[in-house]
Symmetry: C2
Subunit: 346 residues, 2 copies
Amino acid sequence: MSGSTEGDLTKTGMALKHDREWDYELDRIVEAIEERDASKVGLQFPEGLKRRGPKVADDLREAAPDDVTFMLSGQPCYGACDLDTYLMRRTDVFVHFGHTPMKESDSIVYVPLFSNVDPFPIMEDALEELDDPSENADVGLVTTAQHMNRFEEMTDWLEERDYEVHTRRGDDRLTKEGQVLGCNYASADIPADQVLYVGGGKFHPVGLAMEHPEKRVVIADPVNNAVSIAEHDQFLKQRYASVHKAMGAEKWGVIFCTKIGQGRWEKAQEIVDNNENAYLITMDEVTPDRLRNFDMDAFVNTGCPRITTDDGPRFHKPMLTPGEYEAAIGEKPLDSIEFDTFHDTW
Amino acid sequence: MSGSTEGDLTKTGMALKHDREWDYELDRIVEAIEERDASKVGLQFPEGLKRRGPKVADDLREAAPDDVTFMLSGQPCYGACDLDTYLMRRTDVFVHFGHTPMKESDSIVYVPLFSNVDPFPIMEDALEELDDPSENADVGLVTTAQHMNRFEEMTDWLEERDYEVHTRRGDDRLTKEGQVLGCNYASADIPADQVLYVGGGKFHPVGLAMEHPEKRVVIADPVNNAVSIAEHDQFLKQRYASVHKAMGAEKWGVIFCTKIGQGRWEKAQEIVDNNENAYLITMDEVTPDRLRNFDMDAFVNTGCPRITTDDGPRFHKPMLTPGEYEAAIGEKPLDSIEFDTFHDTW
């Protein structure tokens, strides 16, 4: 059961090889192929769905003209920033599954892959963690791209239970009302001290809690069928530890990430302009392996903040966000450290 | 002591921060910066020299105008194919150290990084492994980009010892007489059944032995100060094992590598056009991690053959070269398997 009726494959009569848990919107893709008379079509799936790729390609081969060549992107893909720009440039139609648009173009088809999981049973359980509406009715509501299709229903559901639901589109990086990204929680800038996050996993709500430490973030996870509270204490402790470790650093590697949506050039250049022991390093994937060969004492990552906060401990030297770097070199007080977020598109 | 006098830094009077083992040809780089009035300069080092990058950047900062921003490429770099095209496109001068050109352009400066190791003592030792010139005077001579600057001297040295030295420029992929690449040994297509390889490591001579199994390949390694014979038996055994494992495969992943110099598009498309259970997968770095998420029974790698032959066992499913694939699906006899080489530039 998918919320999108346009892409409803149950009516196409095709013998589908792919699973039906997600709606891949094959008819919309085939339409784009025919409209553009495409001969090369690129398909990019998020890491967790890559193994569905071949079957989706099979179904598309069935439905599309014979002379179309389909290509699956083998580049790592964890978010909207991981757009395979090489494949995008070299195909007539490029389909990106599972993330909202970071860049718009006529030849790109974004297929959101809405979850078909029913969110309401777990939202019911989550009510126990929210204040009783008779005492505090204000609640924020946020979710991820996967559950966006039922956002209005969720809002109505909470309102029927006497909550005053505060939602917000956020800034330009966010395409939908109530949407959060791993690096942007502007949709939670609402006048409520409790926020209900409906979605899978803890990656997003923990980011939200880091960005808004003053708010109580209740997680209603319909995928894992679990309710919990997002914790950010561990985060702050780990960040302080990294800043302390980096304080004695002499040589700094300043990472400029070349991915779409992550290029904070001014920030990177400002750091190297003001520190003669800082060196600009450019790369797409920021991994421990790639940094190990650079003889640096510490790194500042101007790219994805979640690499810094979530994967930081996997790197051989401390890695800081630009704000933490300022604290480490004494330009800002230590207690000013906050979660690093992204607000532009690309 | 470097063979290149143009780039001899001992005469520049600069207080050099970088080591002197290699000649980074700073004056040639500074000249290019001034000529192009560059404000952004990219520097790309091979993996093994990445840690020298910051010091080379320091010396360049000293010598270049104040408003120049230097950027170090953090992309993996193991060979001439690993040109950081992103950084190349976004800088006014782009310097690639340690490999011969795969693509020529006004804004690219290639610095060969010639070794300053004396090759003649180890060549002396290697004579014991060559036939006595009175019995068989014909010998091929090959080396890598690092030792290219002394190739003529090496030829003379062998001729003085009564050898008839056969050398060859090879094909378009090779820029210098006697040069070998990990994927191209056309410079060893010479009428001699013994070849002397002068250079560091076994990567190149083992490739040579795989490509020319009928020749005896003597390794004179001046870096590790060792003489040995390149073996290819292990290679063939391992390749047969991989082909056998892949024989029952139903679903094939056909890798198209997006790196400069590795794109064999016709080969890749031919395979998918003729096998409905083959799927094209595009990527730059071909790593076990990236392929693990694809649900395939076997892979054909149309990109770098050395990933297939040298790293093959690290992948979760058998990976074959295009020629081996033909053997695995029964289109070619098994004993026709040979080393996969590259002959175009890009």
